[in-house]
């Protein structure tokens, strides 16, 4: 679904408000092959401090699921860059899987990641996504066994998201060896594009992962941290960070 090597960037929708989100999306668009847009949730249990706080800011600003769809729709007036919605399962379940996927698709989203929906629980979701031509992305972790990795690859129509470490999202100083081990295992097993995320925050990380064969690299918390710091005025600072990260793609 994307040009390789890909810089995949993440922000939480509605952080610090929906208007700023559109502005940030347009900045991300200039430097990203894919944009991941997080749907804010009250209990983001797979996320570290930075994204937890982003969720709190977005919900405090009154962001609704409908607002997230609307901002994607507005973004589509400017750009065709693939947008992947990242969400926990409860907002999807509450709205109804069918309706959520259909409306997300109609708004212009290309794929979805549901953080707490493993394959075991995804039967209905998968058939609904197929029906509405919504791309699917499942996560794999360093402790995911090979047979499971294969099943994840098969269920992921857009790309496979490789988690680089044991832990939550959040910028880390160094990449873990686990990331490279998983990547080399996945390269042998998977047929879909492979994106690596969690803890990726520097150009040097991007470069190392792309060199090791990743098709894409996801950067989230490092950008969200900037929004935490500068709020609505974060646009220029995000742009600086993206230029730096982009440097990691050229070697």
């Amino acid at each position: 679904m994307f040009r390789k090597p890909a810089l995949i960037t993440f922000i939480t929708a509605g952080d610090p408000n929906v208007k700023a989100t559109l502005e940030f999306l347009l900045v991300l668009d200039k430097y990203s092959e894919v944009i991941e847009l997080g749907i804010p949730f009250s209990d983001p249990m797979a996320d570290g401090k930075a994204i937890q706080k982003a969720n709190v800011r977005a919900l405090k600003a009154g962001t609704k699921v409908r607002d997230v769809f609307n901002v994607v729709r507005e973004f589509r007036e400017y750009s065709d860059t693939p947008v992947v919605l990242m969400t926990y399962y409860n907002p999807v379940y509450r709205m109804g899987v069918e309706r959520f996927v259909r409306e997300a698709k109609e708004s212009g989203a290309n794929a979805m990641i549901v953080v707490d929906l493993p394959l075991e629980e995804a039967v209905e979701y998968l058939s609904v996504c197929e029906k509405h031509d919504m791309g699917t992305v499942f996560l794999a972790a360093p402790n995911t066994p090979n047979d499971r990795l294969k099943a994840i690859d098969e269920a992921s129509s857009a790309f496979v998201y490789l988690i680089s470490l044991y832990g939550t999202t959040g910028a880390r100083d160094k990449l873990s060896q686990l990331a490279f081990d998983l990547l080399s295992r996945a390269k042998k097993i998977c047929s879909k594009p492979l994106a690596v995320g969690f803890g990726v925050s520097k150009a040097e990380h991007v470069r190392e992962l792309i060199k090791a064969g990743a098709d894409g690299v996801v950067v989230g918390s490092a950008i969200v941290d900037i929004i935490g710091r500068y709020g609505e005025d974060a646009g220029d600072y995000i742009e600086d960070k993206l230029k730096e990260l982009r440097g990691g793609l050229n070697f």
Partner: protein, 392 residues
Amino acid sequence: MKFGEFGGMFVPEVLIPPLKELEKAYRELKDDEEFKKELDYYLRNYAGRPTPLYFAKNLTEKLGGAKIYLKREDLLHSGAHKINNTIGQALLAKFMGKSRIIAETGAGQHGVATAIAGALLGLKVDVYMGAKDVERQKMNVFRMKILGANVVPVESGSQTLKDAINEALRDWVATFEHTHYLIGSVVGPHPYPTIVRDFQSVIGKETKRQILEIEGTLPDAIVACVGGGSNAIGIFHPFIEDKKVRLIGVEAAGKGIETGKHSASLCAGKKGILHGMLSYFLQDEDGQIATTHSIAAGLDYPGVGPEHAWLKEVGRAEYVAVTDEQALKAFLELSKTEGILPALESAHALAYAMELAKEMSRDEIIVVNLSGRGDKDLGIVMEALSCSANQL
């Protein structure tokens, strides 16, 4: 394994292998004679099982209806039923070769019971507790520390029990190789609701034996409070096939369901997914989880165990709700008539049972699970009564 459509394993991918490891270890262990002997040894000689099934004669006579029996889990070491589960899971953790256990706690009862099990069995203990609860429950924080546990205040979200669970899960995602997450109720992803239920079922098994010994018949109704629902499942479970026994779970109506300040997820919630399970949750139309209220910290949780959701769905158990005020009244009533201070959680069950008893005949029998003792709640009760001192 699911309970109808409820339960499941709604967790990030990284937790799937540790949950499967746990499931496998538990399956191997649960019928192992050696393990059963060891668990039984500690429950009997350390925790104080079996607990009495006490006929509350004074209360029964005062109400003039059905006979009320109290299952005295409040007499257990640590003062509540929580220890049935913590000793069981701590032994399981040791069997799996884990050197550290982590737990969430609201008021601190499960945290204390985990700290006790950790001290007893030589495991390192870290307890996650919402920052607001740390502030409200200083004595239990101190108690855990004395017992050698480390208490980690959780500053995220609403800074209460649900956030403590989130934080414990975040810890576990990074540490599962050497750490066991010791969940305190029949909630969370499979296999936790089953494991905790099995360890708590000792309550119902004893109750059945005792009531048959005393009365020669099964009770007409069993009443227990429901937050996550572990004490209720513990006493209900051995009676599920005995269709003539009414099973009644009592949730916290807080300041009244209509005020929105409550934690009655079965009575007023909608189906949803949180903490790894499909169940009933208090939430808004976008699926954002609501903040809850109850005078009883142990009931102050926006969800409920999936087996309760299923028992409600199939109509095997009934679920009702009782307000802070009714629970407080029951707390005082039992203290005065029987000389027993019930935990405010258990006082919810008692409040409903007292109403029910009046509508039933004198030869009928109600068993109330007195899941914990009320000493821990004296501060809260004192504060609540200060506005209306004449209640004493």
